[in-house]
Amino acid sequence: MKKYWHVIGIGIQNNLTYRVNYLARTLFSFIPLFAMLSLWRTIYAGKGQGSALGGYTQAQMIFYYLLVAVVDVLTAVNEDDWQIAADIREGNISQFLLKPIDYLWYRLCLFFSGRIAFIAMACVPLAVFIFCFRDYVVWPAGGAALPAFVISLVLTALLQFFISYTMAMLAFWLLEISTFIFILFAFEYLASGHLFPLDLLPPALQQVLFCTPFPSMLYVPIGIYMGKIVGTGIGLGLLVQSLWLLLAYALARFAWRRGIKKYAAFGG
């Protein structure tokens, strides 16, 4: 167990060398975020005060996007998938086949350290940004919502990681996997609720989406926090997230085992 702590420590140090990069990324991401908030404010202004769209008041809609930004900083994979794919392609994983260290846990540790470094750089600008919109900040819906939100966040982060890890396993079979990553990301962007709250979609489409893993990758924790998912829905949401997580984990292990059989250790 101790060796993995070392990995996290080294990972944080490595990631902190990109601190300017992280800071720039965070600051740049405020441009489309602010634009999105302005767009919705204009739409609500055209609708008249106090109107709700898809069950969201103006304040809730604004806060939804702020919360997306927060959850994104806390849980999104950074460049883990590219790095894993590069490790496989360039033969760097050979050393892990010889060492008493599991590549999957090793990468998970690096994912955590990456998040910690990113949060360290992003938290101040993000807090300032949210402070500017403090009038819209909504507190968790009910006493159960906050702990459930935290659990859901952890599940979201793990699911994000395992799905990216599994995608990166494609590098065992294909030379170029960035196209696949981008296509998956496009779907995730829409179907996880990144672009707009899923409640705005027609009910039939929502039901289809909830059969995919995408809502578990972002929407579920936000829905819990904002009281869009309540009562038994909370338990169900967490259960569905856990099931997708288990499936993604199993798939990651399976893909790795199959990949290793084909692995030819170029270069490394």
């Binding site: 496009a186 779907f187 672009l195």
Partner: protein, 282 residues
């Protein structure tokens, strides 16, 4: 290079002509190698088209979702916003076809020291840095954007006059110039930081707002992204010209003026940055 002549002298004219044909020949050769390279990865070529189509579909889906909740954004109606989304994508894809890869590669050239080689070539360095590769899948996606624009224009019952059409085309070219100038400046930052992976991220964040109707914005934000960084003009102004939404000629004058100003600033910044270049490898 040129010796002192009266500006209208015959030699001067021929030297200009030969310069143009020379650069034309160089560019043709670059195209040829790009096509050859692209064709050796046919599967990848198709996949990139799909990636861009997925993202374009995503933007259209967002427009659909927004207009399922409202009928207008400011004075913009649904098909006007679709036209805007199409135009924005068109400009971006054409930019991507000619320049984006080259701009993002600049930091790699600096990091590895391959810049040495390009600086030694007897051509304008900015020219060769900007045009080395052509990204062919983007042309297919630009064509798709044109289809969406045409469909939206049909839905709006637009019958643009020749002047409107030419104005639209010319303003799209200015939009392209703005994309290129701003991105090339961002890329030139790599002479300072070397590892500038955030450049593409910055570019997409910045031009993300180009496809949003300008009336969605107010105050300082609107002023900054109209007059300082004219991102909100890039596709909004051409669409306003095409869709009879122009309120005053100030909009297109501003776009043309700022396009030229940014092109000059970008050239100045490039020259300033190149002076900082210290070779990495040798």
């Amino acid at each position: 290079m040129s010796t002192v002549h009266s500006p209208k002298s015959k030699d001067d004219v021929t030297s200009h002509v030969s310069r143009v044909t020379r650069y034309g020949a160089i560019y043709a050769a670059l195209w040829k190698t790009s096509v050859t390279r692209e064709m050796s990865f046919k599967g990848n070529f198709l996949l990139w088209i799909i990636v861009e189509l997925a993202w374009f579909g995503l933007q259209l889906a967002f427009v659909g979702v927004i207009f399922s909740q409202t009928t207008t954004v400011g004075t913009w109606t649904v098909w006007q916003v679709v036209l805007l989304t199409g135009t924005s994508s068109f400009i971006q894809q054409i930019y991507q076809a000619f320049f984006l890869v080259n701009c993002t590669n600049l930091s790699e050239l600096v990091r590895t020291g391959k810049m040495d080689f390009l600086l030694l070539l007897p051509v304008n360095t900015r020219f060769v840095v900007s045009t080395r590769q052509v990204d062919l899948p983007s042309f297919a996606n630009a064509a798709f954007a044109v289809c969406v624009m045409t469909y939206a224009a049909g839905k709006l019952h637009l019958h643009p006059t020749a002047v409107q059409f030419l104005g639209f085309g010319a303003l799209c070219v200015i939009g392209l110039l703005v994309h290129y100038s701003l991105m090339f400046m961002l890329a030139s930052v790599s002479f300072w930081t070397v590892r500038a992976q955030g450049i593409v991220w910055g570019y997409y964040s910045l031009f993300n707002i180009a496809r949003m109707p300008d009336e969605a914005f107010r105050g300082v934000f609107k002023a900054v992204f109209t007059f300082a960084l004219p991102v909100l003009l890039v596709s909004n102004v051409p669409v306003r010209v095409l869709a009879d939404k122009l309120t005053s000629p100030a909009a297109w004058l501003a776009l043309i003026g700022l396009g030229i100003v940014w092109a000059l600033i970008s050239e100045w910044f490039w020259r300033f940055s190149v002076r900082r270049y210290t070779s990495a490898s040798t």
